[in-house]
Amino acid sequence: MRWAPALGVLLVALVLDVSFMGVLELGGVTPRLVCVVVAFASMQAEPGAARWYALLAGLLVDVSEPSMAGPRAPLYLIAPWTLGVFFGSEAVLSFRGVVVRKNPLSLGVLACVLALSAGLLWTAWWALRSWYPDSPAPWGSGSALGEFGTHMLMAMSTGVCAVPVGWLLLRSSALWGFPSVIGRQRGGGQARIIRE
């Protein structure tokens, strides 16, 4: 995977998430482009690069979205999204073998899986943190289950949004430099990666 275009797309997705994606807000639920981009990279890239990419993407989300609860607000806590997106990327890496990688619908499904996994870990991490006196959970007197419900809706909207965005990303896959074909020498031998 080429890092320069991958980082550029990630930053654009991050900026759009916090500024523009409110246009698609339905009932307080907004899709997340960062999850779509990370799911795309996790589907197509080498596992090692996909993991680092997911970790970086989650870190960027963590330093962009503060928690407003507690005496130290705004608190940019590094971990909930970083680990959540990483966890989601691992889920996509597990599932990517059973989907058609060149199909935008596959990206829709896997982006939903990634966002759901990230939301699950985010909720669990904040539930753990809420034991600390100086870090109340962002959902306040609400329940963690209710918050996870919101994340489920967000994951679904992300999955829907990922289909058209995935079509655009797939058109640009040559730019990303993914290993796209696993070939095998005619006379047998080890599998090798042929770049596009």
Partner: protein, 280 residues
């Protein structure tokens, strides 16, 4: 000896950061966020402008009308603030039988700020502004929108060029003392005012306990009258009554459901009322 993969070390490091107390993490992670957003802020500003262009807030009118309405709301807010001041003065007159002249809060000034990012928070919203301590903004300063509507207050940890607004609907805002004026008496010289205490309900609205026999009705304005808030916030709009209903747990008491005066989705430019010595 087997080498530990760097990704495992990185994940372990992140987990360590994630369990650190907030007082260790907050100062440097705020700086990290500020540094990251220095190059991204212009792009985010453009994105917010496009979003507001594509999906403006409810009731958006023509530009000329909007400026007139804004002017009207500003003066209406000032008028309500003056009304409170007059009532206080009259009380003093009665008590001490002297004519007291008190000065308005002359130390305050206003700073215009653009909204860089918006995120959901605690049932309300959090807005990141391109205005920080360099412009005199301090924690607890009141953020106004459209003249006399309170969007929220500046959160602690103000950056040099950025700050964060905690909306009034955010649970972090806590209870606010306020009063409700019937919509029909908005312009009256001696308008009835019903004192209430509003509490964010965590679902984007505010709630206030009221007497079922009181004159509160949907459409009534809710304004701040809280000694813990800065002088400049007194009399400003915090919300509008959406519904009045009987409390299930206390059938003799009523509950007013209040919509915040400012919809976070429609905010692009705000004004911070910079008050010297303001405290959260």
């Amino acid at each position: 000896m087997r080498r530990i993969p760097p990704i495992v070390i990185a994940v372990a490091f992140v987990m360590l950061l994630g369990v650190m107390p907030a007082r260790w993490v907050a100062p440097w992670s705020s700086d990290l966020s500020a540094v990251l957003w220095v190059p991204l802020s212009p792009l985010a500003h453009a994105g917010t402008s496009v979003r507001l262009w594509l999906r403006p807030g409810n009731g958006a009118s023509r530009e000329a009308d909007a400026s007139v309405v804004e002017e009207r709301d500003r003066f209406r807010g000032l008028w309500h603030a003056e009304q409170i001041k007059v009532q206080e003065l009259e009380k003093r007159l009665r008590a001490y039988e002297v004519a007291a002249k008190t000065s308005r809060d002359g130390n305050a000034r206003f700073a215009a700020a653009s909204v860089l990012t918006r995120s959901a928070s605690g049932g309300g919203f959090a807005l990141k502004l391109n205005c920080g301590s360099r412009f005199g903004v301090a924690a607890g300063d009141v953020v106004l929108f459209g003249g006399d509507a309170i969007a929220g207050r500046i959160a602690p940890e103000v950056g040099v060029v950025t700050s964060t607004v905690v909306s009034v609907a955010d649970r972090a805002s806590g209870r606010v003392d306020a009063y409700i004026t019937p919509a029909a008496q908005e312009g009256a010289k001696r308008a009835e005012s019903i004192s209430v205490q509003v509490v964010p309900d965590g679902r984007g609205q505010l709630r206030a306990d009221i007497d079922l026999g009181s004159a509160v009705a949907p459409g009534d304005m809710v304004r701040v009258r809280d000694a813990a808030w800065p002088q400049g916030a007194q009399g400003m709009r915090i919300g509008v009554v959406r519904e009045v209903r009987r409390k299930d747990a206390q059938p003799l008491r009523g509950e007013a459901i209040i919509d915040p005066a400012v919809d976070g989705a429609s905010v692009g430019e705000v004004v911070v009322r910079v008050s010297n010595g303001g405290t959260p």
